[in-house]
């Protein structure tokens, strides 16, 4: 694409096309967007995070990641659309522009690049990382079971050949460890949203225990507002609640760890659909999915901005 204006957001793209999109966005918006490399994947691919900032130092920040499960293609595609939306809102002084006056936004679009490349070359249904651990006859760890929050407990598998294999130890996956290190070193992230598909759910901690989080009521109220905003666009129906009560027990999950790190506004989205196409959502649904999700994300980001802690 010649520019992020001519880029085709209504299509799925290769890893290289997404990387070049990022470079174009940075080049077009040098005073707002920068590209950080927070680590390298198992197969030594860069782990890029886009930073959107209007200045200041170590401002309170919002983190959004997509694509941690590589086959959930609508999430990386939505992440690309989110990146452009942030830039456009800032240029038009609308939407999240007001958030950027006091907060930074970090967006990791391809959180599992090895898995993503593998879905495009070898196995479209690949979900995990591509790590090889001694003693494992199978490849890959579920990056959403590898965090140090109830790690290894019920709701993950110790079998390296299963899709929910938690890995040999917490943070064994560089894709996970890089985010852990970034969150710890930044130290001022106030909202953390990890985006998956499918099922149309908005979830908050915990997944590894039935114990409600101390902020359960507030997170539930935010979820209700976010889902109402999301559904207002196309009527897409979402359910919401804690991970363990809404779907199932899942240990070693991303937002359980981020919540336990003190990031109160920790959420997971499960995007479209509810089971017609599943992971094979047609490309024509990318933009409507991204648009409606953005309305839900905005509720969470505005709440974080207005309820600083």
């Amino acid at each position: 694409a010649l520019s992020t204006t001519t880029f085709n957001y209504a299509a799925y793209h290769t890893l290289d096309e997404i990387y070049s999109f990022m470079d174009m966005l940075v080049a077009e918006n040098p005073n707002l967007v920068s590209k950080l490399e927070i680590g390298r994947s198992t197969e030594d691919r860069p782990l890029y995070v886009l930073k959107f900032s209007t200045g200041g130092t170590s401002r309170p920040a919002i983190w959004i990641d997509t694509g941690i499960h590589s086959r959930e293609w609508v999430t990386q595609a939505s992440g690309v659309w989110f990146a452009k939306k942030i830039v456009d809102d800032h240029a038009n002084n609308e939407g999240v522009a007001s958030i950027l006056e006091t907060m930074d936004i970090f967006l990791e679009i391809v959180t599992n690049p090895d898995g993503f490349a593998y879905t495009q070359t070898k196995n479209r249904m690949w979900r995990k990382t591509r790590s090889h651990h001694s003693g494992s006859i199978c490849v890959g760890v579920d990056p959403n079971r590898n965090w140090d929050a109830g790690f290894g407990g019920p709701g993950a598998s110790g079998n390296p050949c299963l899709e929910t294999y938690h890995g040999p130890y917490a943070n064994s996956e560089p894709e996970v460890k890089s985010i852990v290190d970034f969150v710890k070193s930044h130290g001022n992230i106030k909202a953390f949203v990890s985006i998956h598909s499918y099922s149309q759910l908005l979830l908050y901690p915990y997944g590894y225990t039935t114990t409600p989080v101390p902020d359960q009521q507030e997170l539930h109220e935010i979820s209700e507002k976010a889902v109402a905003a999301l559904s207002s666009l196309y009527g897409t129906k979402y359910k919401y609640g804690s991970i363990i009560t809404t779907i199932y027990q899942a240990s070693g999950g991303t937002i359980d760890w981020t919540y336990n790190q003190g990031i109160k506004y920790s959420f997971t989205f499960e995007l479209r659909d509810t089971g017609l196409y599943g992971f094979l959502l047609p490309a024509k649904q990318i933009i409507p999915t991204a648009e409606e999700t953005w309305l839900g994300l905005k509720v969470i980001m505005e709440h974080a901005r207005d309820n600083m802690y």
């Binding site: 799925y12 793209h13 196995n123 249904m125 779907i247 199932y248 089971g275 196409y277």
Partner: protein, 95 residues
């Protein structure tokens, strides 16, 4: 490259503990190489399973013998993957 010719995605909505248990039994049969897109989570919640063609007959027989109703969410996974690939090619050409 892995192909998915003849693979189907079956949807089961367990409505009793017995049905849920029959579905969970499938999770332990690794030789069937089932890919749980949505894992069993409770009564009334959909379970979506991508079933490789070689396992299709035995899985359907297992469900039918146990009286567990199921529907076919995706008739042919490869057909959707092919369609997606065509779309990407078209888009790349446009680029």
């Amino acid at each position: 490259t892995e192909t998915f010719v003849g693979h189907q995605v079956l949807r089961i909505v367990p409505s009793s503990d017995e049905e849920l248990q029959k579905v969970q039994e499938l999770q332990d049969l690794e030789h069937l190489k089932l890919d749980f897109w949505l894992s069993p989570r409770g009564l009334g919640y959909p379970v979506d399973i991508r079933v490789p063609f070689p396992s299709l007959q035995s899985v359907k027989a297992h469900l039918e013998a146990s009286g567990v109703p199921y529907s076919i969410m995706i008739e042919d996974v490869q057909a959707l993957v092919d369609e997606e690939e065509m779309e990407m090619l078209r888009s790349s050409r446009q680029l």
